[in-house]
């Protein structure tokens, strides 16, 4: 018991007497992952072919990775006085949290509000550039598919026109009339219309402007310290009251002669 109380008090002493941390600023914002279109799903008839440029779990995983955090710290232009502490803090505290499939909250701590903004700019640049590359690739593939369908549709139209001319100029043969060309052309036109319409759904990843980044500071760790102190106070009080009650009851049971 004594050992437990001793280590608890020692912990309190170390923690309460240790040098207070320097003031820090906490930045938080939410960005929206851009959307793209899954052309395979669209052609297969899916009702919801829209998806994010990158899945939210991958985005969170990327931001949490040591390599990404190192890149952010290396590329951020921190203020000279606080650069050392900001590098440590941003590397250790940069976190992403998926609010839903499209919105990701990012949060980190730095040595000053300017350092928060510096790190934020690098994070937004990194993610926006990465997603822009991915989106560009998707848009290219979508455009290729649209061009293919347009070409196919034109070709089908030519064949259908030629077939109709033959029917018009000669006596219609019932076997010649039995063809799926019209239906295929219709389906191709429909897919082309859908593909062209979904181009409007494609949107890049957007980070809010720096002015909308919520930066809270200067912060200190006093809440934890004071709360822990309150708890310790109650604990010590309980132990003291328990000892007094035990002493009183034992004296009452065994009165001194």
């Amino acid at each position: 018991m004594l050992l437990g109380v001793f280590s608890l008090l020692a912990a309190a002493a170390v923690w309460l007497l240790c040098k207070p941390d320097p003031p820090v600023w906490r930045a938080r914002t939410v960005f929206h992952i851009g959307s793209t279109v899954n052309r395979i799903l669209l052609i297969e008839g899916s009702q919801n072919p829209q998806s994010t440029i990158e899945r939210y779990t991958s985005v969170v995983g990327l931001i949490s990775s040591a390599a990404f955090r190192q890149t952010v710290v290396g590329a951020s232009k921190f203020e000279t006085d606080t650069a050392a502490i900001s590098k440590l803090l941003v590397f250790d505290t940069l976190r992403a949290n998926a609010i839903n499939d499209f919105d990701i909250a990012i949060e980190f701590v730095a040595g000053s509000s300017q350092d928060c903004l510096a790190a934020y700019r690098v994070i937004s640049d990194q993610i926006e550039q990465r997603h822009a590359r991915m989106l560009e690739q998707d848009v290219k593939l979508l455009q290729i598919t649209i061009d293919e369908y347009r070409e196919r549709s034109n070709q089908l139209q030519k064949w259908e026109d030629a077939r109709l001319r033959v029917i018009h100029d000669t006596v219609p043969d019932p076997e010649v009339l039995k063809t799926d060309l019209g239906a295929i052309w219709n389906q191709t036109r429909e897919n082309l219309r859908k593909l062209e319409a979904t181009q409007a759904l494609v949107a890049p990843t957007r980070f809010p402007p720096a002015s909308e980044v919520f930066s809270n500071g200067p912060l200190t760790g006093n809440t934890v310290r004071l709360s822990a102190l309150s708890g310790l106070g109650i604990l010590v009080g309980v132990i003291l009251i328990g000892l007094i009650l035990e002493h009183v009851t034992s004296e009452r049971r065994n009165p001194k002669p």
Partner: protein, 469 residues
Amino acid sequence: MISAGEQAAVLLCGGSFFVFLFYLAGRRPVIFVCFFFIIFTLAWRMAATMFIDLEGPVYSSQLVRTVGPGTATVVHAIAYLVTLAPFLYFFRRSAVEAWCADVRQDAAQPGEITLADLTFAASLILLGFLYFDLVRRGTIPFFSKIERFNYAGGVAHRWLFRYGNLVTFWWGLMFATGYLRRRRVDWRMLILLGVLAVYAFLTGNRFSAYYSYLSYFIAPWAAVVAHQLTNQSKPFAWIGRSLASSKSRLAASCIAIILGGVVLYAIYNNLANVRGYQQSEIWHQAFERVLIQPSEVGWDSFERIFQRGHADSPAVFRFLFEEPIEPSRNTSIQYLMFASIGEPRASDQIRGGFQFAGGFPEIFFELFGPYLAWPFLFGAGCITAALSAVMVRGTLRGDYASTFLALYLLFGFHIMYIGGMLNFVTVQSYWIKIGLFSLALFLEETLARRGLQLLPFGLLRVRQVRNRG
């Protein structure tokens, strides 16, 4: 990264909690045995919180974010100690000695049908029906690779799922009573526990079922430990006394080895065969389940309350008691999940029958803020310690009605310590249980003055016919 001073504080606070538990196990075994169910959980969570604090940031796949580093251990360790401190008073040596003076040791008469006999017979019927129903349905989760929560089972299965802990507590109570009265081990109760363990294995249970059934079974054994305790006892001497004979030591070793093997295999089977994880994924999942998931919600709440200062008591109160996602279930973990992973994922998971681990002590800080939570934590600890004391005293005195009802009330607090649940007090039936408990206490005291018992161990005596010539 946290500073060296904070790291030292985390290590010392966590260490002091484990030292305290070591003290309880060695010097105050009555508390350790009767409250083992919660003590084990607190120890596990403490280890997980320390890991997150010291090794963070670590990625949590359930929260889809990284957690740690920090100093959550400091607050949580003190909260656990504030919870356990009242036990030192309610289980003080003089009180335990006074209970032991009232112990009932009148052995059953020959031909007497006892409460233990009745329990054994009724339990055999229950277990028989459980197995019959399992075979009749034709789907055995272990062989069909079904998750335990996806197996609906029959009426008996659902009843056991809900009240299994109370059943095993009653078996444990009969087991301890048999030892106190007759000085011999009632193997029938151990057999019942073994048969139930096999059923739990077949129905896809992994660790938690064995842990809770065993914890509730051994809780009444605290009375035996109290009865054997003397002032001159050396630390951990109670273990030697509880396992005095070579037969009991052999049985305990066999049970521990078999149970350990079964639990490990059940966990592996679930991860590899039921959930289909491959090689390194199995290890990764087990690692995350052991060292991150027990405390990830607690750490997230710590960050929200203590680091960001986002305590919003009225909103938390409204969510917990007025507008939860599922009012009939634990609303505390619903709030913590909602605050951690947001909507619609929280609702989707809760309505799908899945919930995260954790809830205590973070829900107290969410509801009452970082300072006011402490007296409430202490108050909850006092009620829990008092009910546990009634349970152990009742086992010694043979007051089975109040002992069982004390455990029934305590069960609500156990759920609070396991999952943070606070809305159990708002359920009408809980107050009926309190009324029944008070009535049982009153009747037992009144009848005891007349030398009678509300629920006697010896129920009726069968006249024995002697063969002459």
